[in-house]
Amino acid sequence: MWFVIRCFMILTGGGAVVELMEKSAFEGLLPVEVVGCRIIAAPPEPMHLISPYKGQEKPLSAAMKSAHGMAFPAAGRATGKEGARLVWFGLDQAMLIGPAPDARLSEFAAVVEQSDGWAVLRLQGALAEDVLARLVPVDMRAARFKRGQTVRTQLQHLQVSMTRVGGEVFQIMVMRSMAKTLVDELQNAMRLVAAR
């Protein structure tokens, strides 16, 4: 499976062979499954933080639409779909997940690679909302936090980005170094909820 250590022996653009092994932030930690709920690592995808320069929001959004087929999101929203998503990430910031950013975007925005900076997982299942109610001080119920909504908040002590990407599927992003703590916290809450 893709989340275990693997050795890339593919040809890169420069023609050289990548001889360093990749290691997922969640190696050995996922998947985790408890009755009614599971967490899996999200497939590794390129991620870039896009921060529009002053007054460039509109041309950036237009460039984004033509290059990647989605507009720059409003606060608390995620645009796009599986494989190409733009997740609001804070004041004047959105995380482009999936496609490599079109070179034109750099005219209108600071584009900074974050593919390895954030660890991304999916929490899914019928009890996912109950699990998050143990961890996140935000109303995550479907009526208040719909598909396509996103929030920067805290999960216990962790600063996270959370997006509802499906009916019972949440994408949770945390800084890479804290991936284990994220899994520990989720797992603990999953057990508590399942035990009820």
Partner: protein
């Protein structure tokens, strides 16, 4: 004694349990209290101070007497109220505050000396000798007065904390709360109904009054069924709302498995909820208050409403011969309910001369109970009537002094209760209850009909505030009996009359407080400890104020009340803090090399939240110093590899990026060439040094700033503040990239040789000189290379995307070992930098200026920067300042310790003579003796002088020579090589 046909318990399910080791049986639906009462157990606890035998007083969470410990060892929970603890098969409860047993308690001797144990006695008595208070008297007093004890072991139970959200939170599921919840639920609002009881219904479950022509509990069940079937309603039983906080946040404690014989292993015992509600209805009902007549604390003296609860809800008669004593009509119900159930009522005593009392039992009006007899169970009640004293044989006395609205939560945001003269009780002040609508008995509406109506009315108020349309709500047919009361607070007599049963406070204590001129309610409370027990004055508060008012000649309204603060019931810290237990205390941050470092046996040291290896021990090395010395020598002589990913990395881009960096750094960054790195210093606004680090220019408008590990977040925050607050006109975007890159220092004379074995394009001194940076490819991966040095050696830092970090670390180690080097940890890193006089936050300690650190010249005179003006303040420069120096031993090498203070040689080591302190000491394997960095008054002018360093904690005094802080390679030739 059980009464056939009465109660809402399930008699088909027998539940065995134990109290103080004795085995009993109860039924499903019983509390520990109702089951003990049914089994004829009269004494359930010993009083706090006098160790008097005590029985049940109430049937609810306000119980002051029946405190028990449940469970054993580390799983024991003390001070649980028997009235709220449900029984389950195998429940083991034990009584508290008695030795050796509940029946025979040695400390009951206190009761004989009660005249000497009045309020505040210990402050007056145990004054000499002064030192004895803390060491002798207080421990003894605390041991003899008391509650249940903790096991002293870590709590093994699991707890949980959780968040919930709603439009309307209804607190309390009695008639008012049920109607409020139903009204809002039918309107489509998102409703949470929380009730502390295991079964919702409040007083409706405890009275015989019919509702809509049928037994009230049937109506309750129907309403609950309707609510439970609605998606927009959440019913939370066994959940006590304990506090009101800002922004519509409510704290609530849920008993999750405290009532279960075999809970799931992972299930929490209790959960602490933070409920955010747009509006709330306070429907918490009322608490009956005792009358302070002499000897009113005997086992068998109970609240009249509680006697009805035990009878009607649990089918238990509280006695075989019951007397009832009250000052209001409500008390009469107890006598009538008991008689109807076939229990002998020996007297109904109403203190009001004009009261209308009926019933087929002895009736007394205008009469008062003036004394009782019976040690472990009530035996006699002495009643003063107009014609004389009647002695009545009774084993239970049901008393009622009226009802106090349960208004506690209305005070949590600062509301002060107001006195209501018609019910003679405090009620919430609606002006101070923003978003909290008070319904039913909590607002002083005591009839069932009134409560139902008030529930609807308050729910409609809340719906209006929510902008929702209220449905029309037909009211069930209910009783509307008028609540008639004439105050009776105390019956004076020679003997003690209890106000606060939990803390053993009597009317005499309150009168003494008034005599001692502690006449305000707050002073009285602290002097007598009334209201400071686990029940927090729920039973005693108003009664004590009335006695104080009487003693000081004021009205109760003028006396005022102390306020109520969260929590409403005791909340285990284990529940509120459950998320912080164990590793939940703080996140752990791991570098990509973490697993490998552990494999190599490296002990980890916490740096902020990061885990960093302190050294990499090899065979034959028994101390950290041996490993550290070897690692230092390795870097100086060959090559070492160290994971430095924890250093903060901030990506700065935009048309004004260079101007921005000029503004936050003391030195100029705009003149930096692309592909070059510069060391920089940042000041705080007050002129002190905030952080140091490097700034690399990757493109004309693209920089990467590094910070120290400790200040990474602080610098990011500072930059955000500058951009948002000080220079919003600048077009700059900053992004933390700390986690994107795994970055390794490769340091030592053989560092270039190591790297050239991995890089696709070789580097040379000309193409990649000291302080160069650029993009490279290493084993097919795009990487960043910086030629910077924190060791003073020819060194690089190489950064790859974090997913390659573990593999690159392995590869670098392998190559380093082949060249006679290896990994080095934080200890060696520290020694290497001290030898070079480089700084950390030991030196940049928040009070050091650039001048102090010998870096005044780094503040560019040609431009402005943050902190520049304030760094010019008088007193921040000159010979009085403590300045960075180096220290080495004068003579034979001796111990130098961090935090040791500096004094003139031979001078007295007292604070008046203090001249500075040691910031960073180490043993330098390169120089072969200890060295240290220190801050010394006028230090730069004193190189060569001998001073003493003194460490009072470790008893060290060492003579040292002051020297330049750069001990090794002062010209810096090695890093340029």
């Amino acid at each position: 004694m059980r009464i056939d046909g009465k109660g809402l318990i399930d008699r088909s399910v027998t539940v065995p349990f134990a109290f103080d080791g004795q085995r009993y049986h109860g039924f499903a639906g019983d509390t520990l209290a109702s089951a003990l009462l049914a089994n004829g157990v009269r004494v359930v606890g010993r009083s706090f101070k006098y160790h008097r035998p005590r029985g049940l007083l109430t049937a609810g969470s306000e119980e002051p007497n029946a405190l028990v410990t449940v469970g054993q060892g580390s799983g024991a929970t003390p001070n649980l109220r028997a009235t709220t603890q449900e029984i389950y098969e195998g429940l083991e409860a034990v009584s508290q505050n008695r030795w050796p047993s509940l029946n025979f308690d040695v400390m009951a001797v206190n009761d004989l000396f009660s005249r000497f144990l009045s309020a505040g006695f210990y402050y007056k008595t145990f004054m000499w000798p002064k030192s004895f208070w803390q060491r002798v008297y207080e421990p003894i007093i605390r041991r003899s007065a008391g509650l249940g004890a903790l096991s002293g072991e870590p709590d093994t139970a699991r707890y949980e904390q959780a968040y919930a959200f709603c439009d309307l939170l209804v607190i309390g599921a009695g008639p008012a709360g049920l109607m409020a919840a139903l009204t809002a639920a039918r309107a489509g609002a998102d409703v949470i109904l929380a009730d502390e009881d295991s079964r919702m219904g409040g007083r409706l479950l405890a009275e015989t009054e019919p509702l809509d022509g049928e037994a009230a509990h049937i109506w309750v069940a129907r309403v609950l069924d309707e609510l439970a079937a609605m998606d927009n309603v959440r019913l939370m039983s066994r959940t006590t709302v304990t506090g009101v906080f800002d922004g519509g946040t409510y704290g609530a404690l849920e008993q999750v498995t405290t009532h279960l014989a075999n809970p799931a292993p992972d299930a929490p015992l209790e959960a602490f909820w933070r409920i955010t509600a747009k509006q709330a209805v306070l429907a918490t009902g009322a608490l009956e208050r005792p009358v302070a007549f002499p000897m009113n604390d005997r086992p068998g003296v109970m609240m009249a409403g509680a006697v009805r609860s035990y009878l009607n809800r649990w089918g238990v008669a509280a006695g075989q011969k019951v007397a009832v004593f009250g000052n209001n009509n409500d008390a009469h119900r107890t006598a009538h309910d008991l008689q109807e159930a076939g229990v002998e009522v020996v007297a109904l005593i109403d203190s009001r001369a004009n009261a209308t009392v009926t019933g087929d039992f002895p009736l007394f009006t205008g009469a008062q109970v003036i004394n009782t007899r019976g040690r472990k169970s009530l035996g006699e009640v002495h009643v003063q009537t107009a014609s004389g004293v009647e002695v009545i044989e009774a084993d239970c006395l049901a008393m009622s002094g009226g009802w106090n609205p349960t208004l506690h939560l209305s005070c949590h945001l600062g509301g002060r209760p107001v006195w209501n003269d018609s019910i003679h009780a405090f009620v919430p002040d609606p002006k101070n209850c923003a978003g909290l609508h008070v319904a039913g008995a909590a607002g002083g509406v005591f009839s069932t009909k009134g409560a139902l109506k008030s529930g609807v009315f308050r729910a409609k108020e809340a719906l209006k505030a929510l902008g929702m349309k209220a449905p029309s709500m037909p009211l069930p047919v209910a009783g509307d009996a008028e609540f008639a009361i004439t105050p009776l607070w105390q019956v004076k007599g020679r003997k003690r009359a209890w106000l606060d049963f939990a803390n053993d406070v009597t009317t005499k204590d309150v009168e003494l407080s008034a005599r001692e001129n502690l006449a305000s309610s707050e002073h009285m409370k602290r002097f007598t400890t009334q209201g400071m027990a686990p029940d927090q004055g729920k039973n005693s508060n108003v009664g004590a104020l009335a006695v104080l008012a009487d003693a000081t000649g004021r009205s109760i309204a003028a006396t005022g009340t102390t306020t109520f603060r969260p929590p409403y019931v005791p909340v285990p810290i284990a529940a509120t803090g459950s998320a912080g237990a164990g590793k939940g205390f703080a996140p752990e941050r791991f570098m990509t090399s973490h697993d490998r470092s552990l494999e190599l046996g490296a002990p980890m040291i916490e740096a902020g939240l990061w885990y960093r290896p302190s050294y990499f021990p090899r065979k034959g090395e028994s101390t950290w110093r041996q490993a550290c010395d070897r690692e230092v020598a390795m870097v100086r002589g060959a090559v070492g590899v160290c994971d430095v990913s924890t250093l903060g990395k901030i990506d700065v881009q935009g048309p004004d990026a260079a101007a921005f960096l000029d503004f936050i750094y003391t030195n100029r960054m705009s003149s930096l060439k692309v592909g070059r790195v510069r060391y920089g210093l940042m000041l705080r606004e007050d002129g002190m040094v905030m952080d140091d680090g490097t700034c690399a220019r990757l493109g004309p408008q693209h920089f990467v700033v590094t910070t120290t590990t400790a200040a990474a977040a602080q610098v990011m925050r500072h930059m955000e503040f500058v951009l948002q607050g000080l220079r919003p006109d600048w077009d700059v975007r900053i992004t933390s990239t700390t986690e994107q890159w795994a970055q390794f220092a490769v340091a030592g004379p053989k560092s270039r040789e190591l790297l050239n074995g991995l890089l696709e394009v070789q580097i040379e001194n000309d193409s990649f000189p000291f302080m160069a940076c650029g993009e490279v490819r290493i084993k097919g991966v795009d990487a960043r290379l910086f030629r910077i040095s924190y060791s003073g050696e020819h060194a690089y830092e190489v950064a790859v995307p974090a997913r390659f970090g573990a593999a690159l670390f392995d590869l670098l180690l392998e190559r380093a070992q082949a060249l006679g080097g290896g990994a080095y940890g934080l200890e060696a890193l520290n020694v290497l930098r001290i030898e070079k006089g480089f700084l950390t936050h030991a030196e940049i300690h928040g009070r050091a200026t650039a001048f102090d650190l010998g870096m005044a010249r780094m503040i560019s005179p040609a431009k402005d920067c943050i902190g520049k003006v304030m760094a010019e303040r008088p007193g921040l420069k000159g010979p009085l300042r403590e300045q960075l120096v180096g220290l080495k031993p004068a003579g034979a090498a001796k111990l130098m310790t961090a935090g040791a203070h500096l004094f003139m040689q031979g001078g007295e080591a007292v604070s008046d003579n203090d001249q500075g302190f040691v910031t960073s000491p180490c043993y330098s394997p390169t120089l072969g003796h200890p060295i240290a960095l220190a801050m010394l008054q006028n230090g730069r002018a004193r190189h060569g002088e001998v001073i003493d360093i003194v460490d009072h904690l470790r008893r060290v005094r060492t003579a040292c020579v002051v020297c330049d802080p750069v001990f090794y390679d002062p010209d810096g030739g090695r890093c340029r090589g």
